[in-house]
Amino acid sequence: MGGMLQMVLGNLMRKKLRTLFTLASVIIAFVLFALLGGLSRAFTAGVELAGADRLVTQHKVSFIQPLPLSYVQRIRGLDGVRSAGHYTWFGAYFQDPRQQFALFPTELEQVAEIYPEYTVPDGQLEGLLADRTGLMIGKAMAEQYGWKVGDRVPIFSSIYPKQDGSYSWEFTIQAIFTGTGNEADEMQAFADYDYFNESRRFGRDSVGWIVTRIERPEEADAIAVEIDTRFANSPTETKSSTEAGWAAGFAAQFGNIGLIVQLVMACVFFTLLLITGNTMAQAVRERTPELAVMKTLGFGDGRLVAMVLAESLTVALIGGVIGLLLGTLFVQGAAVALSQFFPGLAMSAATLGWGLAFALALGLVTGAWPAWRAGRLNVVTALARR
């Protein structure tokens, strides 16, 4: 085993520059794979985060069209509805318009009911409900901006001016929630709707969308239909769907990210296949007399096939692992820098798993042809070429 391993490594190091370039191309491809995987996940994170027992109701025409506030009470009255809360996109940013984040004016006492995955420390909720300018933020957001309970922060809205025409809103951090599980989004904030509603210059008594938590997930479709039926033929018709369906539809507004990622990766891997496959074939072709000598010594076809496959697998797996590690580092760095825009940007275990599977497949596919040729080598002909 040691001798064969030395042969495999020695053969790879025979032309160092060639191996280095091949390795570099594999590494770059897998860095790209990791980055695109992270990006794809960021666009679909909402779908993963979606609760099975939550429905989202929006204006039938468009997500940006408001709904009347009165709809919330009417939905709460339906059978099978456990609770309902409304949310409005505030268009928040801190100091710099590039530092955007998600802030939703809502009924704060409803948040814990609608989103049980968010936990607020004891005592903070009371302070939050007692303060009209109180703000509840995620732990990740608090860490990013260095905010703590009691801080007064000026937050700008890119949409809603106050009665005095100012776009600057004063809030006081009153609660910092943590999300249970790695998937929960802690880069968002919730503010008191009444304070927002009374202070804004336009759009009074309207909300962006309504989230309904239902008693039994299996009734989701029926209740969604019932909600839309209730508001049918009114000036503001609605469109209700499960939260997962709504998030998927939201992500689809950016285009089919998954398909784009797959197409880019297919191009990358096809090119990589040609480069690595050609390099492996060339490397084995150059060693034809040596392979013939090994056969002469009694090495069987299977052993030669295994040796050549081991070489291609070594390149693909080393390159793949380094590429995935580098890609993970890039994604983690980007996740911090772009947390306002892509709160779901992260490397998932599934992406890493697929990456390793692709590296394995790459090694096998690129080594298959040269390995088959090595196995089928005619000793007499190969030795005569010498």
Partner: protein, 238 residues
């Protein structure tokens, strides 16, 4: 005559009977060997001579189990190798034959020690035992002090000694040498021939050596002349 020679020198280790071999060149079929008969006795050092294209290497390849005859029988150490599958032949070669080539054919990425160990990778043997046996083989060819060198760091003669150590390390019954001195100067060639003679006389190895060189052939105990695919003369010599 061949049988008489084999019984005089010892039991025949190689028996070639009525062997014919054809090769295809494009649409044409060329018969390289025409019903060759040859016996080589156990412990014999036999030189196979003849002009280029006479079929020497083809016969050597057939006896070494690298190729199969179209007709005839080949028996080596009591086994009919002309009936073996390629898988059986690979195993048989590993156990019974040591090959020595004109251009040494060492693995450039391995040290002399590892090159010699190569055939032992096919045997059930511990790494330590492999190392010891390779070291012994290198001592026999006088290159124990070069064990850690790669082929590129050795002279032609030294490389051929490593190749001979590789050929004998698994203690085969038969050594097949194809122009082993063809790429060496006269002095180095003599050293290699001395080594082959020592392996034959002191270690009892049976050797079949293909050569153009009359001086090299004289070192053998018997010379066999091959011309146009037929054995012309198989007289005792040396």
């Amino acid at each position: 005559m061949n049988e008489a020679h084999a019984s005089a020198a010892g039991q025949a280790i190689v028996r070639v009977a009525g062997v014919t071999k054809q090769y295809r060149k494009g649409r044409q079929s060329v018969e390289v060997l025409h019903g060759v008969d040859l016996d080589i006795a156990d412990g014999e050092f036999c030189a196979l001579m003849g002009p280029s294209g006479s079929g020497k290497t083809t016969l050597l390849n057939l006896i070494g189990g690298l190729d199969q005859p179209d007709r005839g029988e080949i028996d080596v150490a009591g086994q009919r190798i002309d009936r073996m599958s390629s898988r059986e032949l690979a195993r048989w070669r590993a156990a019974h034959v040591g090959f020595i080539f004109q251009f040494y054919n060492l693995m450039p990425v391995l040290t002399a020690q590892r090159n010699v160990e190569l055939p032992l990778l096919l045997k059930r043997m511990s790494a330590r035992e492999r190392r010891e046996r390779a070291r012994l083989a290198l001592e026999i060819v006088g290159l124990a002090d070069r064990a850690g060198h790669r082929p590129g760091e050795l002279s032609g003669g030294q490389q051929q000694r490593v190749a001979i150590a590789r050929a004998i390390v698994s203690d085969p019954s038969l050594l097949l040498a194809d122009e082993p001195t063809g790429d060496l100067d006269r002095d180095t060639a003599n050293e290699i021939l001395d080594l082959l003679q020592t392996l034959n006389q002191r270690h009892g190895k049976t050797i079949l050596m293909v050569t153009h060189d009359a001086a090299a052939a004289e070192r053998a105990s018997r010379q066999v002349q091959l011309d146009k695919g037929r054995i012309l003369d198989a007289s005792g010599a040396g």
